[in-house]
Symmetry: C2
Subunit: 210 residues, 2 copies
């Protein structure tokens, strides 16, 4: 089953602003990267919120979630922390008791830990991007594996030839600094599958050519 990247960036290619802290996990200005998604029905419902827009952006988010059988993400995206888990103030992730994933999530970390189940989501902690994607493929059944970020996990997966598709949501802003996506990945041709732009965000979907 295909493995795809699903990530939001600024026009200048940052997935987080500078000066990431626990209070400001996406760095300075980084929250603006995700403004486009917060009003959509397909984002609000899994987050326990009612209402929301049902436009073309919403359809794309819903379809992307529905095709996902398992998620892969970096430690920083999971908790903002690094190092031993006992020192991590967000050791159970950002999302409280009911994370919105509703699928197996594989978290890339060097720090071993037993799986964690919260609501309908089970987090499994895996040492290495390749192994995390391998386990996610096994868990995803006949659905796809979504690599959700951050930039380091995305770039490693791409350079290891493990991504079939890139879905990049380009938010209408310049961040100027922060965490850069595609920071010296291996050069290769890609193929545009779909482009959809609105005032809120531009979605670019590429097939990675082999």
């Amino acid at each position: 089953m295909p493995t795809f990247l699903n990530i939001s960036t600024s026009l200048d290619g940052f997935v987080a602003g500078p000066d990431q802290t626990l209070e400001q996990p996406l760095g300075e200005g980084g929250e603006s990267l995700h403004e486009w998604i917060l009003g959509l029905e397909s984002w609000r419902r899994p987050h326990g919120l009612e209402g929301g827009e049902t436009n073309a952006d919403d359809a794309l988010v819903r379809e992307t979630h529905d095709r996902t059988g398992a998620f892969v993400m970096g430690r920083k995206m999971f908790s903002g922390g690094s190092g031993p888990w006992e020192d991590d103030p967000k050791a159970n992730g950002w999302w409280g008791d009911e994370p919105p994933f509703d699928r197996p999530v594989f978290v890339v970390t060097h720090h071993a830990r037993d799986p964690l189940t919260l609501g309908t989501t089970m987090f499994t902690f895996v040492d290495g991007v390749e192994q995390a994607i391998q386990l996610a493929r096994e868990a995803a059944g006949d659905r796809d594996v979504q690599v959700s970020g951050g930039a380091s996990v995305a770039d490693q997966a791409l350079s290891a030839g493990l991504l079939d598709t890139l879905i990049v949501h380009v938010a209408p802003l310049l961040l100027g600094a922060g965490v850069r996506l595609f920071d010296h990945v291996d050069p290769r041709p890609i193929e545009l599958v779909h482009a959809l732009g609105s005032a809120q965000v531009t979605h670019l979907t590429y097939r990675v050519r082999r």
Copy 2:
């Protein structure tokens, strides 16, 4: 009249590949950034070539050229060189006796030089991006000023608040290294005006918000 950036990048944000030389002025792999334009009627005609496609990409290129009253570009885009003109093997530019611009072109360089007329194009050499844009605005009449690159001139113009519109043509490839556009520009919101994607290239047009 508005001043706009018009530039092609890879998905990972490079406007040229690594290892730029006289033989390979766009660096390794950089030629692929412009493949999308070479077959278009609106590119071929000013370059003295017959035929070409007349699709939506072609219409956008034609419209972009027609609205342009004057161009601004960096020294490297003009000749690939740096330093004194007498040591520059391409001191009269890349384009031979009939450059395709057919408009005043202002070349940013620290090295003073008299204006150069080739065919229907007059090149004027100006020390500094701001001054080049100022002179281009005066020369453009009621048409717009096009900043054509390279990345350094583009970033300087953007950070100085001199760009009203960004037209970025995202070519379907990852270059991995080279000359990066938007390399730590000032953070600011922008506004998508138009997005158009095809297998060849994705055109993103943004208004710069003040």
